[in-house]
Amino acid sequence: MSNTTSNAIEVRDAVKRYGDFTALKRISLSIKDNEFFTLLGPSGCGKTTLLRMIAGFEDVTEGAIFLYGDEIENLPPHQRPVNTVFQNYALFPHMTILDNVAFGLEMRGKSKDQARSRAGEMLELVQLSQFAARKPSQLSGGQQQRVALARALAPQPKVLLLDEPLSALDLKLRKAMQLELKHLQRETGITFIFVTHDQEEALTMSDRIAVMSAGEMQQLGGPKDIYEKPRNMFVADFIGETNLLEVSVDGINNGRAVCHLGGGHELTCDAVDGVGVGSHVHMSVRPERLYMSDKPVETESLKGRIKENIFVGTDITTIVDLEDGPEFVVRTSNSDRGNKRIFEPGAEMYVNMELGAARLLVD
Amino acid sequence: MAAGAASGGSATTDTYKESRFWLLLPAWVVLGIFVLAPVMMMLIYSFLTKEFRGGVIWELSFAAYDQFFCDRGLFGDEPCTIEWTYIQIFWRSIWQAGAATLLSLAIGFPTAYFIATRPESQRPLWVFLITIPYWVNLLIRTVSMKFLLRDQGPLNDALIGIGLLDSPLHIVNTNFAVQLGLFYSYLPFMVLPIYAAVERYNFALSEAAADLYATKWTTLRRILLPAVKPGVIAGCILVFVPSMGSFLAPDLLGGAKNFMIGSLIEEQFKGNAGNWPFGAAASMILLTMVLIILLIFARQQAKAEKEA
C-alpha cells in the first residue's frame, strides 16, 4: 500500500469504548508527512483520546493505527517513535532541565555525555541554555513549555504529539508561542499533531484541521475551508461567531438555492449536496460578512431596524431586527468605519452581503 | 485510619495493572499468613480443650465459651445460669472506654476546632504539637502519667505546696486514672479526624446562619455539628476501639480492682496458670464486638458520603 507509507499517521476505523461508553465512534483519517495537523473540538469530544491512542497510552478497542506504514497500535509507548508534549508539561520535578531533555536520549541508549550534549543543543534551540542546571519549578510557565517541547523533540521523533500545550499560558504568551511552534514545525520538518479546544489557535497554526464532536469527526479540511464552508451546524457554531438561521429551501437553480427566512425575506446562496427543495435546514452567515446601508446595495439585501449597538473594542456589534423575521448580528470593524455605516438604534436600514456569504448546513 | 479507609477506595490509574498481582503478592502472603491465618487459628483454639500448663489439647470443646457465659456452681455440675464475672469485666471495659471517649471528645473537639480555625500557615505546627506525644512510646507515656499522678508525685506535691490540698489526692488505681490514661493514649485519634472535617467545613454556612439571626452557639449546634458529624464519629470510634482492648493503661494505672478485657486476656497466656482456649474465646468475643462497631461505622460513613 504505497499511499499508506506516504502518510505519517493513518488511523483506520478506530473505535474506543470504556465499558458502555463509546469515546470514539469509528474514526478514520490520514495525516500527511510534514504536516501541522490539528484535532479541534470541545472537551469530551474524543480528541485527546485519539491523541493518547497514537501515543500508546490508551488501547485501541477496534481498528488500526499506522506510523509511516508500520502498524503500531499494539506497541507499548516506549517502542513508538512518537513523542508527546503534555498539557501540564509533566516535566520531571526531581531532575534538572538538562536531565529532563536528555532523558529520552538516554532511554534510547545514548551515553550520558552524548545525551547531555544533544540536550544542550536542544536547549539552545529554544533559547533556554542558561537554565540548564535549574529545576522545573524554578521556571516560568512559558519556559517550562519550551523545555517540554525541547524534551519531546530531542530524540527526533517521527511525529510530535501536542496535547493542549498552550492552554496554561496567558493570552499574550500563547500568541507568541503559536508562532514559535509553527516556525519550529517548519524548521524541523517533523509532523505535528496538535490537540486544542481553541478554534482561533487551530486556525492560526494548522495546515489541516479535524473538527471533532461527541466521538465523531465533523469536518476535515484547511483552516479557510472550515471557517468559510462549515459543513454542519456544529462546525459553523463551534468555529467563530455566526448567525444561525432556520430556513426553508424554496427552489434550486444552476447551483443556487433560494431560501426563505420567514417574514417574506429571501436569500440566495450556493446549493449544497444533501439539501433539496422543500427541506428545512440551517443557514450560517458570519457577522463580519454583513454590512449596513440606507438603501439596498447588493442583490442580497434585507430590510431591518437597528435594535442595539455594542462597542467591543476592535469592533462594533450591531443587532438588527428584520421585519417579522429573524435577528441578525452584524460586526463592523472600527478600522472600517470610514467605508461602512453605523446607524442609531431604531433606524431603518438594509443588511447586505455578497453572494456566497451565506451557507447552507447539512444538519 | 478513617481518612485512609476513604482514600483506599478512590480512583486509581492503571500504569502498572499488568504487574499488580506480583506487586500485591508479598503483602498478601505476609498479612495472610501472619495476621489473617492467626486469627483463624485463634478461632479454632477457642474451641479446643485446655492444657493445664499452657497451650491446648486438640479435642473439640465448648468449655471456654461455657466458662465465659455459664455459672455452673462450685463443682461445675449445675445447670447453666448466667455467669456475671466476665460479662462485668467486658461491661467495665466498655464503660471505661466510653468515659475515656467522652473525655477525649470534650477536650478534643474544642482543640480540633481551635486548630482548624487558625491561619492556614500555623495549622501544621499545631497539628504537629498534638501528634508529637503519640509518637512517644505508649509505655513511657503511661509510666510518666503514673509518676505524675502518684500520691507522692509532683502533681500532689504541687497541690499541697500551694495549699490547695492538705493530704494527697488518690488518683492512681482509680477508674478516673484509667480514663485519664486512655484519654492520654488516644487523644490525637480524636483530634485529627475532627480537625480534618472542620478544616473542610465551609464557614460561609455559619455566616449565613448568623445573618439569619442564629446565635453563635445555635450555629455551632445546628449548622457546624451536623456538617462535621462524620469526623466526630470517626474520632470517637478511633478512641473507643483501642481503649476497649487496651492493656497498659488499666494495668499500670488501674490496679487489680479496675481489671479490663486486656488484662483478662493477658492473664490467660502468662506462665503456666493460663487457660489458652478461654483467652482465645475472650479475644474472639472482643474482636467480634470491635468488628461489629467498625461495620456499623463503615456503613454510616458510606451513607454519609453518598448524601454529600
Binding site: - | M42, L187, S283
Partner: protein, 269 residues
C-alpha cells in the same frame, strides 16, 4: 480597636481548652524528663541536677540487660521497618496504579486488618499461630509479627503520597522510551520518596514502641526495650527508667521532626 470584633469562627474558651489539652499531653513527659536529671536515688525528692542516672543506664548493674534489650529493639525496628516499607511500596503501586480490579477492596481490607483488630487480639492470635505450627518463640517471631503489624503504618503515607503524583510523569517517561520498570525506578520512586521516608519512620517508631505483641511472642529471656522497661516498672518506677524513657522520648521527637519536615517538602512542585 475600641470595639471587640464579632468573629463568627471563634468561641470563647476553646483556646483555653486547647492549651489545657497541650498541658495534659506534655506535662507527664516534661516532668519525667526533669526528674531523669535528679541526683537523688529516691524519685520523690529533688536533690539537684546530675547525669548520674544516665551514667547508670550505660554502666550500672542493669546496664547489660538494657543494652541487650536496646540492641534487640533497634535491630528489629530497622529490619521490620525496611521490610514492611518495601512490601508497602509494592502494594501501594498495585493499589494506586493498578487500575480497578475485583480484589482491590479485599486487598485494602487485608492491608488495614492490623489497624482494625485490637492489638491484644493480634498478639494472642500471633502467639497461638506460632505455637500451633511449633515455631519457637524468640527474636525471629518478634520480627515476623512486627513486619506484618507495621505494613499498614508504612502503607498509608506511601499510598497517600502516590495518589498525589499525577500519572502524566510516568507517561512522559514511557513516551520518552523508558520501559515501565525504568519509569518506576527513575521517576515514580524518587517522587514518592517523602512518602516512603514518612512510612519508614512511622513503621520504625511503631516497631520500636510495641509492647503488647512483643510481650506475647518474645519467648523467655528475650527482651526489647519496652518489655524490659515494663518488667522494671512492675517493681516500681526508678530513676534509671526515667533516664531511658527520656532518651527514647528524644529519639521519637527526632523521628517525628524529620517526618514533619520531609512531609513538608513537596518534590513534585
Amino acid at each position: 480597636m475600641a470595639t471587640a470584633k464579632y468573629d463568627i469562627k471563634s468561641y470563647s474558651g476553646f483556646r483555653a481548652i486547647t492549651l489545657l489539652c497541650l498541658v495534659v499531653l506534655y506535662a507527664p513527659l516534661v516532668i519525667v524528663t526533669i526528674y531523669s536529671f535528679n541526683s537523688s536515688a529516691s524519685i520523690t525528692t529533688w536533690e539537684g541536677i546530675s547525669l548520674k542516672w544516665y551514667a547508670d543506664v550505660f554502666t550500672g548493674p542493669e546496664s547489660e540487660k538494657f543494652k541487650l534489650a536496646a540492641r534487640n529493639s533497634f535491630v528489629i525496628a530497622i529490619t521490620a521497618a525496611t521490610v514492611s516499607t518495601s512490601i508497602a511500596v509494592f502494594a501501594a503501586t498495585a493499589m494506586v496504579r493498578g487500575g480497578k480490579f475485583k480484589l482491590r477492596t479485599v486487598s485494602f481490607g487485608l492491608i488495614s486488618l492490623p489497624l482494625m483488630v485490637p492489638e491484644i487480639v493480634t498478639a494472642v492470635a500471633t502467639l497461638i499461630f506460632f505455637n500451633s505450627i511449633g515455631f519457637d518463640r524468640g527474636i525471629m517471631t518478634i520480627l515476623i509479627a512486627h513486619i506484618a503489624f507495621c505494613i499498614p503504618f508504612a502503607y498509608l503515607p506511601i499510598s497517600a503520597r502516590m495518589q498525589g503524583i499525577e500519572d502524566s510523569y510516568e507517561q512522559a517517561a514511557m513516551d520518552l522510551y523508558a520501559t515501565k520498570r525504568q519509569a518506576f525506578t527513575k521517576i515514580l520512586l524518587p517522587l514518592m520518596m517523602p512518602g516512603i521516608i514518612s512510612g519508614f519512620l512511622l513503621a520504625f517508631i511503631v516497631s520500636l514502641d510495641d509492647f503488647i505483641i512483643t510481650n506475647f511472642v518474645k519467648g523467655a529471656g528475650v527482651e526489647t526495650l519496652p518489655t524490659a522497661i515494663f518488667g522494671a516498672v512492675k517493681q516500681g518506677i526508678k530513676p534509671n527508667i526515667m533516664a531511658i524513657s527520656t532518651m527514647l522520648l528524644g529519639i521519637s521527637v527526632i523521628m517525628v521532626t524529620i517526618s514533619y519536615f520531609v512531609s513538608k517538602t513537596d518534590n513534585t512542585k
